[in-house]
């Protein structure tokens, strides 16, 4: 459905005299099939949002391509056509809506821009149907302004919006991180209903428990590179990369306490001393690393499970 090939983004900063380049995304490949949720996880600064933005045509890649149904998205000149197939939802729902419109007007605008052929009465029926699907009560939301609704309700409205548009691809960037636990679940369930109608969903998150709860596949990013990817069941039951292992170890569980002797913090001096071009990016924090750890490539370790580590 949507495929990312060798995607790269380089940011440059600084002035004429000191030019810094930051490789935010470094040759990333993955594919999301129809009716599939792919979790993109990693720490802040790992490049997950940058990938999401490039897939939404909000940021131009420095290299590589993004293929929607085998067509390069940057070759789709008609943006309206593109956005009728690909939509994004972001962290802060309050900034995603126009605050002076009521909810029913927001839905009418979708009809006006994307679904002109549908009759008004049919449209109203559809709106009701999708609201029910995401667990919202029509009377509770339709006649309200944005500030009268909760964050969880707004995120579900955005998912309802994607459902109405029959999108092929949804980019969900940290959509639950501002929500309370009690409403977070409803948003995750709404995403699953979107998956049911055949959408491909990119679920960007730093919360591994949520990623595991709803996703089919996972891509673990570290400093812009994929360190491990594959079926989420396989990666979670048998994590191979030291970074993935450390991440899974750090999840606060509800039935098991942290092992206190295994704290991993970034060590400033070590990272400055150890870092050399061409070495593994995780070398400064890796318990297994030595100076022979050259930049690893993703390798197949078992069916549907890839790892980038030379120690494997």
């Amino acid at each position: 459905m949507i495929r990312v090939e060798n995607l790269t983004k380089v940011f440059t900063s600084g002035g004429i005299f000191s030019k810094n380049t930051i490789v935010a995304v470094d040759g990333v490949d993955f594919e999301i099939k129809k009716s599939e949720i792919l979790a993109l996880v990693g720490e802040s600064g790992s490049g997950k949002s940058t990938i999401g933005k490039m897939m939404l045509k909000l940021l131009k890649p420095s290299g590589g391509q993004i293929l929607l149904n085998d067509k390069d998205i940057y070759k789709i000149k008609n943006n309206k056509e593109f956005y009728s197939k690909v939509q994004g939802i972001f962290q802060d729902p309050y900034s995603s809506f126009n605050p002076i419109f009521k909810v029913d007007r927001i839905f009418k605008l979708i009809k006006q821009s994307f679904k002109k052929e549908v009759s008004s009465s049919e449209w109203e029926g559809r709106v009701e149907e999708v609201l029910k699907k995401v667990g919202l009560n029509v009377g509770d939301v339709l006649n309200k302004y944005i500030h009268q609704l909760s964050g969880g309700q707004l995120q579900r409205l955005l998912i309802a919006r994607a459902l109405l548009m029959d999108v092929d691809v949804l980019i969900a960037d940290e959509i639950t991180s501002m929500l309370d636990a009690s409403t977070r679940v409803d948003v995750l369930e709404a995403l699953l209903s979107l998956k049911e109608i055949g959408a491909s969903i990119l679920f960007i998150t730093h919360d591994l428990s949520q990623a595991y709860y709803i996703s089919d596949k996972i891509v673990v990013l570290y400093k812009g590179s994929v360190v491990e990817s594959g079926s989420i069941e396989k990666v979670f039951s048998n994590p191979m990369h030291p970074y993935t292992r450390m991440l899974l170890d750090s999840i606060p569980q509800l039935d098991r306490k942290w092992e206190e002797d295994r704290i991993s913090v970034e060590d400033f001096d070590k990272s400055r001393a150890a870092w050399k071009e061409g070495l593994c990016k995780y070398i400064d924090r890796c318990p297994l690393a030595d100076l022979n750890c050259v930049r690893p490539k993703l390798k197949l370790v078992e069916e549907d499970h890839y790892v980038a580590c030379v120690k494997m």
Binding site: S182, R184, L188, Y213, V265
Partner: protein, 317 residues
């Protein structure tokens, strides 16, 4: 030991007072990490802030707070100056983003202790030792805050806020903006600061109950301005008694749960409006067990030793 008795803190608004903390009573024991959890708007941050600075529109209504038996003048912002930072220290939410970007970190610390009439030279040794404890190099004193990552800044804030060895440290959502790996490191460092007796007790405010399970000794669950349940961590997690606590714990995705195996449930409805909260139990509109007796307000009572619940439906009273 900190005793909070019948504390009421309201926010003045044009439409009336929002009862953000309404008759809250509990104690924070010596050498303990007390976790406070609840949804946004439940009053958990108000509780932390009110023990440091009651800034309008926040207003003190009634109740008292005692620190080691001594009454804290929380309604008097000038009198409170004697206690702030020295006896009670607060790490507010987003503290790590509030470091002055134009000053070097060493300078920021010098200014701060200077405000409390402590010479930088007196605490310099201690500062270096504490930085070592949180695995930061002392070179960072010569750096600007923006040169540090989120996890490093949060560790630095922990060091700064405890330089004068306060009795009580209040940490408000200190790990919420961090990645799982830094979250674990920072949380465990708070625990270490308690174990090393740098601070006597810690109040750890968060919406992330899973983190509390890792480090807190006891957990208090708040809902709409009230404490609804308080007890030892293990018991709250394994055997929650209040219907709200039960629903809250049920809604958390634990690692190792897939939607195909087990469906999680959210809590339907919203928390009530705090300007005109409903009579009786504030959770009753969302509670599956609510009945007529819930029209009267349930008091927070001890149902088992050390275990307090505010619900008419909980047996054992």
């Amino acid at each position: 030991m900190v005793e909070i008795k019948g504390l009421k803190i309201y926010y003045k608004t044009l439409r009336g007072d929002a009862k953000a903390l309404d008759d809250v009573t509990f104690t924070i024991n010596d050498r303990e990490i007390l976790g406070i959890a609840g949804e946004s708007g439940c009053g958990k941050s108000t509780l932390g802030n009110s023990l440091i600075l009651l800034k309008p529109p926040m207003k003190y209504v009634s109740g008292e707070v005692r620190l080691n038996g001594e009454r804290l003048p929380i309604d008097n912002t000038v009198e409170m100056r004697k206690y702030r930072y020295k006896k009670i220290s607060l790490i507010p939410q987003y503290a790590m983003d509030a470091l002055n970007p134009t000053r070097k970190i060493g300078g920021i610390i010098k200014d701060l202790v200077g405000q409390h009439r402590v010479k930088y030279e007196e605490i310099e040794g201690r500062l270096h030792e504490r930085l070592r404890m949180v695995k930061l190099s002392k070179d960072i004193l010569n750096m600007y805050p923006f040169e540090l990552s989120g996890g490093m800044k949060q560790r630095l804030v922990l060091v700064i806020s405890t330089l004068l060895n306060p009795d009580l440290l209040i940490a408000d959502e200190v790990t919420s903006a961090l990645d799982v790996s830094s979250q674990k490191a920072v949380s465990l460092m708070f625990k270490e600061f308690r174990d090393e007796k740098i601070v006597n007790s810690i109040v750890f405010i968060t919406h992330d109950i899973a983190v509390l399970y890792q480090i807190a000794d006891r957990i208090a669950i708040m809902y709409a301005g009230k404490v609804v349940e308080i007890g030892p961590t293990e018991e709250i997690m394994k055997n929650p008694l209040h219907p709200y606590t039960k629903a809250l714990i049920k809604s958390l995705p634990n690692a190792g749960i897939r939607h195909t195996h087990q469906k999680l449930e959210g809590i339907p409805g919203h928390p009530p409006n705090l300007i005109n909260p409903p009579e009786g139990c504030r959770f009753k509109d969302r509670c599956p067990f609510a009945s007529d007796e819930c029209l009267n307000e349930p008091p927070l009572v001890e149902v088992e030793p050390g275990r307090y619940v505010a619900c008419w439906k909980v047996k054992g009273r």
